[in-house]
């Protein structure tokens, strides 16, 4: 790949940051001349660059969207490399470089709580290999056997003669060493960097405003585009009257975008947006214009009793057991559509020519953005490039679809040779999302005469994400993600209770809104369904909710351990004044066992969440301090969704357009969150996603404990409840 970097443009962006360490962009400058590259940047291997001043630059393939993966991955490389953590900095290779180097950095996809989990072995081996090559170079220089040398904290020592050298001094020679094939990783008990709450690598730049997000990209001569797609998802554009805005200041072009939208390209974004607002457009809204939240709810309700259930978990004979049960308990819950509300609206900056297509964007899937850029532009992949900026929020929105890349490329194609930044308005972003899918759940439980839970049927009715996003992953028409937290076995999302007769099935109903992966995905509503209904059952038999659960969890020790921990540390059972209550919830998702004990005080309709005690067992905790922050952050997200979220549909359109109707939790409302990381070892569970799911059910159960009222439909603002 002979890309000649346009240094003028880069230095415009990076200021005087010719030094790699100061690059707040974080992406690697591909250098066409490999000889010069070796001098400037002694790459030991694809993962590690060691500079003469001992600075270690670690290559990070995944996207950093606030979740801390950047730091966690760097910790893992640094651990095996055995360098000094204080010398570590980072850079993001581009997807194009990954392709050119035969995907040496593996997968760039950052979602599904997989960043650490699926790359830990790859990156650790990368760090270990680099260390071995550095040692080999030193040994060769000293003409001693490699086995007599040890590497630690950036220094290599020949133990017999006590000669030492540093990584920086041998890095150039190390690059020429044959990469090792037999790589042994450190025993976790020897970890010095992994498992420590080291400070994040991206925080300093973020606090100083140096971090460049997609929305911040500015290139010389850049134009701006504002885009509108048909307000009813799936509808088309019929016509628009560009003549009516022809004389508007700064407007360069009005272009149709595929068959669904129109964009105005102008010299400033404000000129583009205001001109577009005044452009007469005729939409062909299509049949979905008749859809509303009411019609969707009625349709989903049918699915609660229909014959078309796709089975996710089945044990015993639920029908017979329910028929013979001494007592039956039934409840129907409903969880709404949710929007990702990334603080940074969707955007991408594209420079297109027939020979090359370059994209600057915030994305959770760098290679998909690259593939999309190629498909949309018609320029072959090797001549395309994507520069991944830091993300102002991902949460799955920027993983589900690269639609914001595709439309930006289509628009930039209309101005070849000129960079065009397409930035969505908040309204466009809110109404053209890929939403957490809407569902309802009917739960029927059978208890025997001794009040044992002997049968339970969970019927979920609602939208499938895979059917709308990745039909190829469906298993014979079934969406496996629907059953997150309900699985009988496996290593990811196991149901934590033993019930002799169980049936979990899904009646698929896919309305016209795009579904998407919303942090935590299906475990968000599944955990509410499971954990709130468990409390209902406990209440029905007059048992303490913790005891009721414990009885059923004897075969699930890891689920139980997390639950017991939060109950103990959350002072479960200790008396509370009237109007206050505690609630519990536990779940397994994305390989981790999570639990929460929430304590609330309710006065009228005002809910004060006093504190949440949380536990998460992700197997290994690479950065426990970061995990604690992720838990708190995920609670903000989940509780916002519970109290304030909920996307409604009217006349086929999404109703909520901005934060005036889709509010966020505020700092004053944030409870005290005390998190314990309980790494039991032996497996790698995720952190970014699973932790979110226990906040909502724990708080709901606490509200019921405090008030005696049970809420089964959400968001809670619909019941007049507010967080205070």
């Amino acid at each position: 790949m002979n890309y000649q970097p346009k240094f003028d443009r880069r230095s415009f962006l990076a200021g005087s940051a010719a030094a790699f360490g100061g690059l707040s962009l974080g992406f690697h400058l591909p250098l066409g001349d490999t000889a010069a590259a070796a001098e400037m940047e002694p790459e030991v291997n694809a993962w590690v660059v060691v500079k003469p001043d001992e600075t270690v630059v670690i290559r990070i393939a995944r996207s950093e969207m606030g979740q801390g993966t950047l730091t966690g991955l760097a910790q893992m490389v640094a651990e095996e490399l055995d360098c000094e953590w204080s010398k570590v900095t980072y850079e993001f290779p581009t997807p194009g470089e990954n392709v050119a180097r035969k995907r040496v950095w593996g997968d760039f996809f950052t979602a599904g709580s997989q960043g650490i989990r699926s790359s830990n072995e790859l990156v650790r081996k990368g760090g270990a290999a680099a260390r071995m090559m550095l040692v080999a170079a030193a040994a060769a220089d000293w003409k001693v056997p490699v086995a007599e040398c040890v590497a630690a904290d950036g220094k290599i020592t020949h133990t017999a003669s006590n000669r030492t050298t540093t990584y920086g001094k041998v890095a150039g020679a190390a690059a020429k060493v044959e990469p090792p094939t037999d790589i042994k990783l450190k025993d976790p008990k020897d970890w010095k960097i992994i498992g420590k709450g080291v400070k994040r690598l991206d925080t300093p730049d973020k606090t100083q405003g140096k971090t460049v997000y997609g929305i911040d990209i500015r290139l010389p001569g850049m134009l701006y585009a504002s885009l509108k797609a048909c307000p009813v998802n799936g509808g088309k554009i019929k016509s628009f009257d560009a003549a009516k805005i022809a004389d508007r200041k700064g407007v360069k072009k009005v272009v149709q975008v595929e068959d669904y939208g129109v964009a105005v390209i102008a010299d400033t974004w404000w000129h583009a947006k205001t001109a577009l607002d005044d452009l007469p457009i005729v939409w062909d809204e299509g049949p979905s214009a008749k859809v509303s939240s009411e019609t969707i709810a009625a349709w989903l309700k049918e699915g609660l009793d229909s014959n078309d259930g796709l089975v996710g978990n089945k044990g015993g004979d639920v029908d017979a057991a329910l028929a013979g049960a001494a007592k039956k308990v039934e409840a129907v819950y409903a969880y709404p559509y949710q929007h990702h509300v990334t603080m940074e609206p969707q955007n991408a900056t594209v420079l297109y020519t027939t020979d090359k297509c370059e994209v600057w964007c915030s994305t959770q899937n760098g290679e998909a953005a690259l593939a999309t850029a190629s498909e949309a532009s018609g320029v072959p992949v090797p001549k395309c490039e994507v520069y991944k900026t830091f993300l102002g929020g991902g949460f799955g929105r920027r993983a589900t679809s690269q639609d914001y890349v595709r439309s930006a490329v289509m628009i930039a194609k209309e101005m070849p040779g000129t960079p065009v930044k397409t930035l969505w308005t908040r309204e466009e972003d809110m109404t053209h999302g890929w939403y957490h899918p809407v569902t309802q759940c009917k739960m029927t439980a059978g208890l025997d005469k001794d009040n044992n839970l002997v049968a339970i049927h969970y019927r979920v009715s609602g939208q499938s994400i895979l059917a709308g996003v990745m039909p190829a992953r469906m298993q014979d028409g079934k969406d496996p993600a629907t059953f997150s937290g309900f699985y009988a076995g496996g290593a990811e999302a196991v149901y934590g209770y033993s019930v002799p007769n169980i049936l979990v099935d899904h009646s698929m109903r896919n309305p016209h809104l795009h579904p998407g992966f919303w942090r935590g995905v299906n475990i968000n509503h599944n955990a509410i369904y499971i954990e709130c209904f468990m409390d209902e059952l406990a209440k029905e038999v007059g048992m303490d909710p913790l005891e009721f659960r414990r009885k059923l969890m004897q075969q699930h020790p890891l689920h139980l351990a997390s639950l017991n921990h939060v109950a103990e540390h959350g002072d479960w059972g200790k008396p509370l004044p009237a109007g206050s209550g505690r609630g519990l919830a536990q779940a397994m998702a994305f390989g981790s066992y999570v639990a929460a004990c929430a304590e609330v005080t309710v006065t009228g309709n005002s809910v004060k969440i006093n504190r949440i005690v949380a536990a998460t067992n992700p197997g290994y905790g690479v950065n426990p301090a970061q995990i604690e922050r992720q838990v708190s952050g995920s609670f903000v997200y989940g509780l916002t969704g519970l109290f304030l979220g909920g996307i409604e549909v009217k006349d086929g359109r999404v109703v909520q357009e901005n934060f005036d109707t889709y509010d966020m939790m505020r700092i004053a409302q944030m409870p005290e969150v005390r998190t314990t990381v309980l790494p039991t070892g032996g497996f790698w569970g995720g952190v970014g996603e699973p932790t979110i799911c226990v906040a909502a059910p724990a708080v709901l159960n606490a509200i019921t404990a405090a008030t005696g009222k049970r809420y089964r439909t959400f968001p809670l603002r619909n019941h007049g409840l507010t967080m205070v």
């Binding site: 995907r103 599904g112 593939a371 992949v381 993983a399 996003v469 993600a481 990811e492």
Partner: protein, 159 residues
């Protein structure tokens, strides 16, 4: 033109029957899942080449190295051949590993083609290997394969 159509129709019938039989064979080997496997691709290839040896070479398979959602992927195959009356490419067959069915397309050429190159667009369900096999007039088989990475990924637990 009309007479050829009837002749073609007769040929098509027998080809359809043949394909039906082939499909039957493939279906019988494939068990429940709606997904081909590398094994079923090999079976489908064997249905075409029989016991003959397949040699890597002469075939150039052009697919993008990265694809976003796999709905419409450009595909181009060119086979080195003088394309004379006695030395030409008879057919080109394309297979894939992981789509629900192993076959993608089979094209039948002859010396009149002048150039053994064909392009189309196809669907790929997931990251996988695509194989193109050329059948020559002398009965030999040649092949090429390419890996395509489908980048659209699910934010899912790996169940």
């Amino acid at each position: 033109m009309v007479k050829s159509n009837r002749k073609n129709a007769a040929r098509r019938m027998s080809r359809r029957q043949l394909l039906g039989a082939v499909a039957g064979v493939v279906a019988a080997i494939r068990v429940a899942p709606a997904r081909a496997t590398p094994a079923s691709m090999q079976e489908a290839i064997r249905n075409v080449v029989g016991e003959a040896q397949v040699t890597k070479g002469k075939v150039h398979l052009d697919v993008p190295v990265l694809v976003d959602n796999g709905n419409t992927v450009p595909l181009s195959i060119e086979v080195e051949s003088p394309m004379t009356a006695t030395d030409y490419v008879k057919a080109i067959h394309v297979f894939n590993e992981l789509n629900p069915l192993p076959n993608v397309i089979s094209v039948h050429l002859g010396p009149r083609a002048g150039r053994a190159k064909v392009s189309t667009r196809f669907r790929l369900a997931d990251t996988q290997t695509v194989v193109a096999i050329a059948e020559m007039s002398d009965g030999t088989f040649w092949s090429a394969s390419a890996d395509v990475v489908v980048t659209l990924q699910a934010c899912l637990e790996t169940l």
